[in-house]
Every structure is written in structure tokens, then in C-alpha cells.
């Protein structure tokens, strides 16, 4: 019994440590702006208000930034899931040695450092006239988001009994029917994980708008946070309010999806 409670206490401590930066940042975002920095932790919350959350929208066009970020994820996340899962389903249904080469291709392209493609992707985009368009920020979604997503689906389907798909073939189901009706429902944890990862990538994407977007009307939320930081770096409650606004959407998605990939059959 003693061992169980030690583990439980340790889990509680660890959980609290990991939540601390978020909780403290959230509390500090409610403290009054323009006041002397608190000299101890108790003073952090002596007076608080939601005023910073209103003010941050007046200081920079955060509403526009939010809308642009939303547009990017609304297009990019579904396309990433669609393209990655279809490619992985093709892999799982294809024969050796094709499959081996394609999996190797996925692993190698997953391991290319993003900084290695910045320069030539910029050149490619300017050649086809996509610099300074929102499409530039969505482009990788049409390639499945990341080869990691293809590998996640591939791995998840590898765990499933292969004769299930053969049975679907015998029943005369087309590739698309087998994918939609048999394969996808089998791997809900993979879809939950890929949806969240893709959302996090496109929502938090900082370097691509820095490189590709110049028109302030097309700035996304990460650029908005950078603007706040440049305009008034010493106004900590305001910066934190901006940060909290950026955190809420992915956090909500995480709270919805986590029961599949973090608490479900994968981690039984």
C-alpha cells in the first residue's frame, strides 16, 4: 500500500510542476498593467482584471491575426489528415519492395531539418508567385503536413490484423471505401494524434510567416505575439494575455483529443 501512495504523491508533484508555468502565466496575465512589477509571489494577484485581454486587441489587430491563423488551420488540418492517411493506407496495401522504399523515404524526409529547406522553399515560392499569400502557409498540408503523420498512420495500421483489409477487398470495396469504412475507424487514436499535431504545427508556425508574409493584413497570431513583444516588451501582463489567447485553441483541442491517444488503447 505504501508503494502505491508514494507513486501517487510523486505523480501529483510531477503534474503540478508541469502545470505551474501555465497556471502562473495565466494568473499574471490578469494582473493590472502599468504597475510596478510585484516584488514577491503574493503580490502577483493583489489586484486583477480582464482589462489586459481587451487592451491587447486595441494595441495590435489581434482579431485579424486570429482570423488569419484560423483560416490557415481550417484548411491545413483536414488536408494533412486526408493526405497523410491516404498515403499511409496505400503503403499498408502495397507490396514489398515498394513499401520498404516508401517507408524509408518517409523516415528520411522526416529527419531533414526544417532549416535546410527555408532558403530554396522561399525561392520556389517566389518563382511561382506565392510569397505573401496565405496559401504559402498552408502548402505543406497538401503534402500531408509531415512524413511523421504518414508514419503514425502506417504504424497504427500495422498493429491491425491485415486480413481485415483483405476481407474488405473480397467484399468488393474500393480503395476509398475500405479506407473510410474499415481502416479509419480502426485507428481513431492516430487520427486524434495527427489532428492535434497538425493543428499545433500550423497554429504555432513562426518561421514561415516570418519568411513568407509581408502584408500586415495577412499576419498570423505568432507574428502578432512578436509584434507585442517588439512594441512593449516590458508590459508583462499584456504579453502574457496575448500568449494565453494563443494557447486556448490548441489546449481545447488537446483536452478533446487526449482521451484517444493519451488514455486509450495505445497506452493501456
Amino acid at each position: 500500500m505504501a508503494k502505491v501512495s508514494v507513486r501517487r504523491a510523486l505523480a501529483a508533484v510531477v503534474g503540478a510542476i508541469f502545470l505551474l508555468p501555465l497556471v502562473m502565466g495565466g494568473l499574471a496575465s490578469l494582473s493590472l498593467a502599468g504597475q510596478a512589477a510585484p516584488q514577491n509571489l503574493g503580490a502577483l494577484l493583489r489586484e486583477w482584471s480582464w482589462q489586459n485581454y481587451a487592451e491587447v486587441f486595441q494595441m495590435i489587430p489581434l482579431g485579424q491575426h486570429l482570423w488569419n491563423s484560423l483560416l490557415v488551420v481550417i484548411v491545413s488540418v483536414p488536408f494533412s489528415v486526408l493526405v497523410a492517411s491516404l498515403a499511409a493506407f496505400f503503403l499498408i496495401r502495397s507490396n514489398q519492395p515498394w513499401r520498404r522504399w516508401l517507408v524509408a523515404f518517409a523516415i528520411v524526409t522526416m529527419l531533414v531539418p526544417p532549416s535546410a529547406v527555408w532558403l530554396f522553399r522561399f525561392q520556389l515560392l517566389s518563382r511561382v508567385g506565392l510569397v505573401d499569400t496565405r496559401l504559402a502557409l498552408m502548402l505543406s498540408a497538401f503534402a500531408g503536413g509531415s512524413s511523421l503523420f504518414v508514419l503514425i498512420y502506417f504504424w497504427a495500421w500495422r498493429q491491425a490484423p491485415a486480413d481485415l483489409f483483405d476481407a474488405a477487398d473480397i467484399d468488393g470495396a474500393s480503395f476509398l471505401q475500405a479506407w473510410w469504412q474499415v481502416a479509419l475507424p480502426l485507428v481513431r487514436p492516430a487520427t486524434a494524434a495527427v489532428t492535434l499535431l497538425a493543428f499545433m504545427f500550423f497554429w504555432g508556425n513562426f518561421i514561415e510567416p516570418v519568411l513568407f508574409i509581408y502584408d500586415p493584413n495577412k499576419y498570423t497570431l505568432p507574428i502578432g505575439l512578436q509584434l507585442l513583444n517588439q512594441l512593449d516588451a516590458s508590459n508583462r501582463p499584456l504579453l502574457l494575455a496575448g500568449a494565453m489567447i494563443a494557447i486556448v485553441p490548441p489546449m481545447l483541442l488537446f483536452l478533446i483529443t487526449q482521451r484517444w491517444f493519451l488514455q486509450g488503447e495505445w497506452t493501456r
Partner: protein
């Protein structure tokens, strides 16, 4: 198999898109390293050795990786084993939460947490009667700050190792327990060897992922300083490519870095397979 042929259409967006957006740009980049004024040349590697900025950046990155990768990988292993029982739902979600924070928001939170004057971390330290640390001013302290910021975002490794642990069949553990192995014995002789391939995979990937993760905070809150101490490779590559307009040097840096990471990963992977 005419049916199979038309199915290739579903593979193509990923295959062609990845080729266009990743393979072609990366290969062009590597090619640049050997190309100088229209002919083959290795001159850029000489410039790599003589550039102070490149040297400092490699040192910073090595400093970061040597601390951050073990902290993140072993931290994720510890947490995955600790929170293995299914009942720890809340703690699992809590551990994952910092990894959900978008990089620019995490950078702003970090800027506040580590502020030497009014940040809560130094407040706690001085409250305990300890000296405050000169984060953002002292070079080593600032590099350490980046390690700590990266250490909180270990969610991906955490879940990979939770899955790896769940794939170890129960009967192995039960048999070991019957043989009288304590928790350490089970960890050392069963869990650890069976999880080595997962750890090797994570370590190799983290050499890239954790270093790439330094870009947003180093761009937003330190811009490489103080005294170039947080000019890690991604920021160096950005500066060389878009400020100094020196693509050949970028190519040289990337080639050395990618070879090093690929080499270490392959070596780790082979060791893990051999012992597993």
C-alpha cells in the same frame, strides 16, 4: 492489377508534395556546399573552420544538445514509467500540457518566468535565501534557460515511451516477479532492454527536434544574445541565409550538422538493435 495502378493517385500528393517541398530544396541546399563560381569546390569547408560565428554557434548547439537531449529523453522515460498505470489520467494530461503551448507563446512565458528582476523563478530563489541567477544576462545561464524551456516540452517523447512500455507483454513482467525480481530488477533486465530501440529512435530525432525548437525563443527573446551565446544553428542558418546572404556557408553548416546527426542516430540505432 489495374485497380492498384489507379490507387497510386492517393499516394501522389504526399510523395510529390514532399519531394517538391523537402527533397528538392534540401538536395539543392547540400549541392550548394560543393559549388563555387560554376565549378566543384570544397572552399566552403575552409570558411566553416575560420568563421568565428559558425564556431560559436556549433559550440552553443553542442552545449544545448548535450544537456537538453538527455534531460528530455530520460525525463520522458521516467514520466512514462511513473504514469504507466491508467489511473494517472490527470497527471498524464498535465505532463503533456506545456507541449501544447505554441512556441511563440511559450517564448513570452519564458521571458517572464526567467526575468532576472521580477520573474517568479528568481523571486522563489531569493525567497529561499539563495542568490538570483542572471538569466538573459549571463551566457551560460541563458543557454541553461533554453534547456529548461525545452525540458518542459517533452510530450512527444513521453507518449512514444508510454506506447513503447504498453507494448511489453504482461507475462514477461509477471514471470520476472515470480522469479523474485524487485522493481529495479524488472526495470534493468526487462523494461530497459526492451525499450532501448524506442529510446534510440527518440534520441536521434530529438537531436533535430529540440535544436530546431530553439529557433522561436532565440529569435523572439534573445536574438542570439547575450554575446552570441544563444545563436544556435537554426538562428545562424536564418541569419546567414537571409541577412548575410551567404547560401554557400549555410549549405556547409547544414551538411556538417546533418551528417553528424545521421551518424550519431545510426550508431545509436545499431547499438540498440544489438543489445535488444
Amino acid at each position: 492489377m489495374s485497380k492498384n495502378n489507379s490507387n497510386v493517385l492517393f499516394l501522389l500528393p504526399w510523395l510529390l508534395g514532399t519531394t517538391l517541398l523537402i527533397v528538392v530544396p534540401a538536395l539543392s541546399m547540400f549541392g550548394l556546399a560543393f559549388w563555387d563560381d560554376g565549378r566543384l569546390s570544397a572552399a566552403v569547408f575552409q570558411r566553416l573552420l575560420t568563421s568565428d560565428l559558425v564556431g560559436i554557434s556549433f559550440y552553443n548547439s553542442l552545449f544545448f544538445l548535450v544537456l537538453a537531449v538527455p534531460v528530455r529523453t530520460l525525463g520522458a522515460l521516467f514520466l512514462a514509467l511513473l504514469l504507466r498505470p491508467k489511473t494517472h489520467r490527470v497527471a498524464r494530461a498535465a505532463v503533456f500540457a506545456p507541449s501544447i503551448i505554441p512556441p511563440p507563446a511559450w517564448a513570452l512565458i519564458g521571458l517572464w518566468l526567467f526575468n532576472p528582476l521580477y520573474g517568479p523563478i528568481n523571486m522563489v530563489l531569493t525567497g529561499l535565501g539563495l542568490p538570483g541567477i542572471n538569466w538573459l544576462v549571463d551566457a551560460n545561464a541563458t543557454r541553461l534557460m533554453f534547456v529548461i524551456l525545452a525540458g518542459f516540452q517533452l510530450g512527444e517523447g513521453f507518449i512514444v515511451l508510454l506506447i513503447g512500455r504498453a507494448l511489453i507483454p504482461d507475462y514477461l513482467m509477471d514471470a520476472a516477479q515470480l522469479d523474485g525480481a524487485g522493481w529495479f530488477g524488472r526495470f534493468w533486465y526487462i523494461t530497459l532492454p526492451l525499450m532501448l530501440p524506442w529510446l534510440a529512435l527518440l534520441t536521434g530525432r530529438d537531436l533535430l527536434v529540440s535544436l530546431q525548437g530553439t529557433f522561436t525563443p532565440s529569435f523572439m527573446i534573445t536574438y542570439g544574445g547575450p554575446y552570441y551565446s544563444t545563436t544556435f544553428l537554426p538562428l545562424l542558418i536564418y541569419e546567414l541565409a537571409f541577412d548575410f546572404r551567404d547560401p554557400a556557408l549555410v549549405a556547409g553548416v547544414l551538411l556538417v550538422f546533418f551528417s553528424a546527426v545521421a551518424g550519431v542516430s545510426l550508431w545509436l540505432w545499431q547499438r540498440a538493435i544489438e543489445s535488444g
